[in-house]
Assembly symmetry: C2
Homo-oligomer: 145 residues x 2
DNA sequence: GCCTCATAGTGAGGTAACCTCACTAAATAT
DNA sequence: ATATTTAGTGAGGTTACCTCACTATGAGGC
């Protein structure tokens, strides 16, 4: 088996695990009545606090237009509030409402519990090792384009 | 930082890397003119050979109706062929056409090259370690529901 | 053999999660 | 002052699923 094939197999394994993780994560927040994309946005807002919609889109790595959409959906549900940016009249700020903060905390808890259950099959050393390796993979790609 | 929080962070890191991998994988096959879902189906057919649409759906872990759809799309492009199952007149068999097999091989190559480039930042020991740990995570969940 | 239930595939209709393009208004650079 | 860039969003589109319902067929039980 060549290196390429090993790496493809590794990629497939990676994908398979991440798919399972994604599915379980989705189910863990489903009772809260929000979708995965909304949960992601809520997570960014919880960590970052008030921010521009464009910044939210950057964090989520989606198109600005899609950022608008997820904020729309959350606003309809009363989970976020929009306000004009005093520093730039083109821009809009978005922040979690108090209800949104409650949901955000519930999301965080549900996700954490699910993740703990998922990774529970690894011992402490393996978890640390996995975190280390994943950290390497997360670095900006040093390969030339 | 509690164990739950560490695990949630690990899950997020996992998701972040898998998102990158997914995006790069998508780009690597984009020149072939097929979508990620189609590529997945092609991959299963390449490995498994002729099979029922229901089985394909099982392998892909999608609803049977969605299996029908991806086969429809591939059939329109001449990449798969449908035939009745001689053992069960309710069932339909699907297999790659010769053109489909060429595309399947191209997909495999593109993906492998991309995966090699992605994991190239890890040394051999880390790759093996990662594969070992991922293998643990891939096992059926031994936790009681 | 007959009946009931399960299975296989698919038509119809739907949602979620993105995307691009185009536009207006505002900010920045020259 | 003018040209270019930026921020948000309307309009329209694609992809990748999903559920429900239906027909035809197969399996199991009596």
């Amino acid at each position: 088996m060549s290196t390429q094939e090993e790496d493809e197999t590794l990629a497939e394994a990676f994908w398979s695990v991440s798919r399972t993780l994604r599915h379980r994560s989705h189910e863990s927040i489903s009772p809260l009545g929000i979708t995965p994309a909304q949960a992601r946005a809520i997570g960014v807002l919880r960590r970052h606090g008030r921010m521009r919609i464009s910044s939210l889109s950057d964090h989520l790595r989606i198109a600005p237009r899609s950022g608008t959409e997820v904020v729309d959906a959350l606003q309809v549900r009363g989970l976020v509030l929009r306000s004009p940016d005093p520093d730039d009249r083109r821009a809009t700020l978005v922040t979690l409402s108090s209800q949104g903060e409650e949901i955000a905390e519930a999301v965080r808890k549900a996700r954490a519990a699910e993740a703990e259950q998922f990774f529970d099959r690894l011992d402490e050393a393996d978890r640390r090792e996995l975190a280390r390796i994943i950290g390497l993979l997360r670095r900006p790609d040093t390969q030339q384009p």
